[in-house]
Subunit: 422 residues, 2 copies
């Protein structure tokens, strides 16, 4: 076995090859594995086809010690992962009386009669180790095979994560398949374009640099990852030096070293300082509040918010003066600021933000093109506002970046205010 | 060349193997290709590593006629897709003066100085055909090689889709790589569990059935796809017969045959009939309104909505009586109905919905467990309400299913009302 075991992921489903669904399970599994020192070397998608699944499993076994197959364990006849794995390993499929009892108990608990097609969920390759699935009906399993391990996991994300957490990870730990991961430092930056970032990091991103640096951009956030080349003391020291240099160079743009989700970073500040928040959204239609309320416990600082899509709604709910709307239009500094003030006033919150913009595809003009967004924040009565001109390519991406920009600006204000106090 | 060309997709990026990001580009490309008669046979992920990318391209060329590589064309030094493809095809990389001029013109238009690292974006394998990228700086390219085609596409989704639409698809059509797709019928059903569905379709989903049927479940929607085995008249006739049978059997659950997104299905009804809508959301924090406002033009029927997270907000903004909250709690039929009535009254809309539930992970009790959601709709003053007990596995999934349930219930009400009128 290598110092760090390698894993291959196979996502099963015609819906992935047809594009009806994206493979999000593999990314989730890769993150979990990395945290336990297992490096994912390949990710592959296979259709709902026994020979294709078998071939993918065999290919994966040539390269990796752990092969995790996700999906295709359901009750319907197009679910053939168990058959594909059995074929790849040249084993029979046996019905497990114990698993059958589990499956039917699951239905009993819900007062539903088990259908016959669910019986196939109790089939396993011979000598498989069954992994219980408390979140659904399909039991998962693993097979030890010539010093390697092939695992079958359910496709529904919540079942996959439950089986991973409760069954597979404990088994991997108990059987010596996990490691302390290679040292890594991550930085999450908001609002810096990738080409400017490349210019400012220069040779830090060279292919032979130690630590190695990678970066990726999504929804306004640039994620920079520094990875130690190995576990040596020199490599770890180089990583820490580079991380310190990075912090100094990008102090202005970095909002976290552990958390991509801006809503969690902002919520942590708000909850720690007891700062209440409200929101007034126009073009983002509730997205920024939706992000914020993903955070458990946010009710301690967030009580209410407004989706004011129409001009009249901005007047009625937020008290934006009609003359302001007529003089400057709904997408303007003046209206953004009035919306934020109105949300703070109506909700009684210390902090409020407002978003108003042209999300498109219609509604743009020469002076106010699609992608123009005005943002305002009010903290303890002091208003700030700024404009963004986002690439006018996609309504959804304009909305996502606009909502996250508002969260970033709120975070900056809270941080700046507390820095000024200290 | 086969009757239907086959494609292999390779998504490039360490961030995909580490799980920092899911590969959503491949699903998008697979859908586009399928619509033009090209079947995706494999999807693979490769890290930012020249030899690994080269090996993946070579493997893909053994199986497929079209190889589409997405990502790794950016300006940073870890972007090595062009090098990997050149290596796989044993070609030199040349700098294109024309492409360099395009890249620097892109920066000029934005009044930004082009950085030196952007020069590498003008490198291409010898004899490559350059695909212009009007949405970003990285030009894409394709290489014809021994009767097959290798394409490199940019990783950012909006650049990928722009290059596909404006450059690659027209090229594929002009060079005879597209086909009329195999006939398929899709059905989108809401709220039916997969095991019950399997029971009710029975042998329709057998592996050797013609048409072949597959199904997949996400966020409360079950997608059933019927696919003709071939382009023969018999196969097409069998597909139409089965589609008719399906419509009759699942008339109650099917909300669309063309559109997964419930917000578009609902919005089409609202816009066609001029029915105004408003919303009051508690546990979903604005998600249902965010979904609805994804639809361009929705401002004609949606003017405003409320995120009433706290009890006081339900009282202040929606006029929910305090005694109702005290007597029944915020998650109850009575409060859901009062919220919906309040939203309709305050906004003056014909239709309004309300969502109140326990999204967890905290806040559940024996009588009101995590996953309990109450939903209410008001249409022209008539209120309806219902309860859902969603699997208490994940806060986000409870919220997603709850928001989509509200959209489905609104759609049902509008449909039922118009059926009653007809």
């Amino acid at each position: 076995m290598n110092a760090h075991p390698s894993a291959a992921l196979i996502a099963v489903g015609d819906e992935l090859l047809s594009g009806a669904q994206a493979d999000t399970n593999s990314a989730w599994l890769a993150r979990e594995l990395a945290q336990h020192g297992v490096a994912v070397e390949t990710i592959e998608v296979a259709g709902d086809d026994e020979p294709l699944i078998a071939a993918a499993v065999q290919r994966a076994l040539e390269r990796s010690e752990l092969v995790l197959v996700g999906g295709g364990l359901g009750p319907t006849l197009d679910d053939v992962t168990r058959h594909g794995i059995a074929r790849a390993l040249a084993r029979e499929l046996d019905e497990s009386a114990e698993a059958l009892a589990e499956v039917s108990a699951w239905f009993d608990r819900r007062g539903v009669v088990m259908s016959d097609t669910n019986r196939r969920q109790a089939l396993f390759p011979r000598d498989a180790h069954i992994l219980r699935n408390r979140a659904g009906t399909a039991p998962a399993f693993l097979v030890e095979h010539e010093g390697r391990v092939v695992v079958a996991l359910p496709g529904p994300p919540r079942e996959l994560s439950a089986v991973w957490r409760e069954e597979l990870l404990p088994w991997l730990e108990a059987h010596g398949w996990t490691r302390t991961p290679l040292a890594e430092r991550r930085f999450y930056l908001f609002g810096i374009p990738e080409s400017l970032f490349a210019e400012r990091v220069g040779a830090w991103m060279a292919r032979d640099a130690d630590p190695r640096m990678g970066c990726t951009v999504r929804d306004g956030t640039l994620t920079a990852a520094l990875r130690a080349r190995d576990a040596s003391r020199d490599s770890l020291a180089a990583l820490e030096r580079r991380a310190d240099e990075f912090r100094a160079r990008f102090a202005h743009e970095t909002y976290s070293e552990s958390e991509w989700e801006l809503e969690h970073v902002l919520a942590a500040e708000l909850l720690a300082r007891g700062i209440t928040i409200s929101a007034a959204e126009s073009c983002t239609g509730g997205l920024a509040q939706e992000l914020l309320t993903r955070v458990p416990g946010i009710s301690r600082v967030f009580r209410q918010g407004y989706v004011t899509y129409a001009d009249e709604a901005k007047q009625d709910l937020l008290g934006v003066p009609g003359e302001l709307l007529r003089a400057h239009g709904a997408v303007s500094r003046e209206v953004a600021e009035a919306m934020a003030r109105g949300a703070a006033r109506a909700s009684g919150s210390a902090l409020a933000f407002a978003i108003t913009g042209v999300a498109g595809p219609e509604g743009g003009s020469a002076s106010k093109p699609v992608g123009l967004v005005w943002l305002a924040t009010v903290l303890d009565g002091v208003v700030q506002s700024s404009e963004r001109r986002l690439p006018a390519v996609e309504r959804d991406s304009i909305r996502r970046v606009a909502a996250r920009t508002a969260l970033f600006l709120c975070w900056k204000r809270v941080r700046d205010a507390s820095a000024a106090r200290d």
